[in-house]
């Protein structure tokens, strides 16, 4: 009850005109930035940092948080319409959102994205108010050993999201891990697979790879033959007809609930956040589905779950920052910079010393999510109408979008070359029957795995047994082993039971 009373105080702060304006501006700016590939929330928030010094601490954080949520929504729009992830956490929206758009269901996909994010946002806000500070301390039980085991579990699941035989998915997982190791070693500074090229010292950027793998390779797929616009796919452009139907809601309700809970807890973990949460939710939905073969071909569950998860995780990732002073990911790290510029030190004392800021920020999450709905639902019709652009014009426009987006990440022509080369290679892999989703997920998890694996081994004085001594780690590794072994043993068990009969 105390938490709800505090939340009520927070609403008093969040609903002040200046803070409402900050939430509105943040959500709007974030959406616009998210739609444009390349310039993700980190860059946008960094650019706006000097402006936040003119605002008070609460308004500053509300503005920057609004940009973060808005960019997640905007990024999904580009993923659904063009298969170009506007920012890294929106990669998963390509998997089923884009096929939905190709089937004439872009409005449903965009609508479900907005509503799933909104619902997850509401639940996460109350979750944060009621459980956040308590669970933030619990997240500290996750040291390098436990995190490494969690990532191994994630990789075992990653192999299950791909199309086709499991061994192909493992090939892509391995390739993703190998790509994640490109660049200077964080411990020794040793250059790995850089071939003396200074541009590769920091490794590949996830958004550049995603634009190449999904955007450029899709341009090549679209270029395979002359296509005509299929105007019969969308019969009505009235907003009412474009939004999700009762069946869509029924199919999406459980994935949304699961995605919200999963995203919330993953968001609390250092190193977690929207990207990992959306992938994890996609993997979970595919595993739980009775018809996993629909995933990647326009299954609404594959969109609703991850969209809920990434929004819940984005909100929950504020808790380790505000309660413990630990930024869980880069975006939150930059927001921490904004707080420090205001002379506010995030950490356990924040909730005591600045309750208005803490509860105001929590309550403003609800306001920002409501504004995202108000801003974006009317725009669905406009976005769907964009798909009426003829393919002859749309295909080069997507390419242009990808190329300039890739350039804008580091202002580097080298990144453009990486996106193009990645696109060609990804096209070859796609045509050979490989699915790229496990590759990208393994790439994301790879650097996390290496860092935690090495720290864990150092903690264990070089002994890999350290990963079996922690109960949390042992549990994750056991489940990962089961995930690997069950599909291998199933044919043997089936053959055994047939022989017994």
């Amino acid at each position: 009850m105390e938490a709800l009373a505090n939340l009520a105080v927070g609403f008093g702060v969040a609903l002040q005109p200046s803070n409402l304006l900050a939430a509105f501006a943040g959500a709007g700016l974030g959406t616009a930035i998210g739609v444009i590939p390349g310039l993700g929330p980190t860059a946008a928030i960094s650019l706006l940092l000097p402006i936040t010094i003119l605002l008070d601490g609460t308004s500053a954080v509300i503005l920057l948080a609004g940009i973060y949520y808005g960019s997640l929504y905007g990024g999904s729009t580009a993923s659904i319409l063009l298969r170009v992830p506007g920012e890294a956490a929106s990669v998963v929206s390509c998997f089923d959102g884009y096929p939905m758009a190709r089937q004439g269901r872009a409005g449903v996909a965009l609508g479900m994205t907005a509503f799933a994010s909104f619902i997850a946002g509401i639940v996460a806000t109350f979750g944060i108010a009621l459980l956040g500070p308590t669970f933030a301390s619990g997240a500290l039980a996750f040291g390098p050993v436990e995190r490494a085991a969690l990532v191994v579990f994630g990789l075992a699941l990653a192999a299950s999201i791909g199309e086709g035989p499991r061994v192909r998915a493992w090939t892509m997982v391995a390739l993703g891990l190998l790509l994640s190791s490109v660049g200077a070693d964080l411990v020794t500074g040793h250059e790995r697979y850089t071939f003396g090229n200074a541009n590769l010292r920091d490794g590949f950027h996830i958004a550049v790879l995603a634009m190449g793998m999904f955007g450029v390779s899709e341009v090549l797929v679209l270029a395979e033959r002359r296509r005509r616009l299929d105007a019969s796919l969308v019969t009505s452009y009235r907003l009412r007809d474009l939004l999700p139907t009762g069946k869509d809601w029924k199919d999406s309700s459980l994935p949304m609930a699961r995605g919200t809970i999963l995203g919330f807890f993953l968001g609390l973990l250092p190193g977690g956040g929207a990207l990992i949460a959306s992938f994890a939710s996609y993997v979970m939905e595919k595993r739980l589905s009775r018809t996993p073969e629909r995933f990647g071909k326009g299954a609404i569950e594959g969109l609703a779950g991850p969209e809920s998860a990434n929004n819940a995780a984005a909100q929950a990732s504020f808790i380790p920052l505000l309660c413990l002073g630990i930024p869980g990911n880069v975006v939150i790290g930059v927001i921490m910079g904004a707080l420090l510029m205001q002379g506010i030190v995030p950490g356990p004392r924040l909730i005591v010393d600045h309750p208005d800021l803490f509860w105001g920020v929590v309550a403003s999450m609800l306001a920002a999510n409501a504004m995202l709905i108000v801003l974006n639902v009317p725009l669905i019709r406009v976005f769907v109408m964009l798909l009426r652009v003829p393919p002859a014009l749309m295909t080069p426009s997507i390419l242009l979008f990808c190329v300039i987006g890739a350039f804008s990440i580091h202002n580097s022509a080298f990144d453009v070359s990486v996106a193009i080369v990645t696109g060609f290679l990804a096209y070859g892999l796609r045509r050979s029957g490989f699915d790229l989703a496990p590759l990208l997920l393994a790439f994301v998890l790879g650097s996390m795995l290496e860092q935690n694996l090495r720290q864990g081994l150092i903690l264990g004085l070089g002994s890999p047994l350290v990963f079996l001594r922690s109960p949390i780690s042992l549990a994750f590794l056991s489940v990962a082993a089961l995930t690997l072994l069950v599909p291998l043993l199933r044919p043997l068990l089936r053959a055994g039971s047939l022989a017994a009969r």
Partner: protein
């Protein structure tokens, strides 16, 4: 040889080269993991998995629909040339060149339409990224 097998053999070669390079980086140093440990593990996993794909027998699920190869090659060439000339020619000139090459050369759109669209999109992207978002797009020969 099928496309799947060919890709798998290419990945086997990548894995072997990556594994040798990883061993040279140092797998274990002074009782602690070295910079090559993780890349070596990933390379070995890639080697085993891609060998598994290469020996696997099963239906090909890529390359189902017919492909207009000349069209695809023209698109590919336009993209590759764009990547090469972006910096020396600048974003505006390279963008106009790319769009005219695709719209006129591949999509067979009228010259005036191709130029009109190319100039409009190049100007819009230049205005939005360079001036609105402050992205320093390559200036190139026009100095824009």
């Amino acid at each position: 040889m099928t496309a799947m097998r060919l890709s798998a053999f290419c990945l086997v070669i990548v894995a072997l080269v990556a594994a040798v390079a990883a061993v040279r980086m140092g797998v274990w140093r002074s009782g602690a993991p070295g910079p090559g440990l993780f890349p070596l593990s990933a390379a070995l996993l890639l080697l085993v998995a891609s060998l598994g794909v290469a020996v696997q027998t099963g239906p090909e699920d890529g390359a189902q629909e017919p492909v207009d190869r000349p069209r695809l090659l023209r698109y590919g060439a336009a993209i590759a040339v764009f990547g090469l000339v972006l910096k020396p020619l600048g974003a505006v000139v390279a963008t106009v060149g790319l769009l005219v090459a695709i719209l006129r050369g591949v999509e067979r759109q009228p010259w005036a339409f191709s130029f009109g669209i190319a100039l409009t999109l190049a100007f819009l992207s230049w205005a939005v990224f360079r001036h609105l978002l402050g992205v320093p797009l390559p200036r190139g020969i026009l100095g824009l």
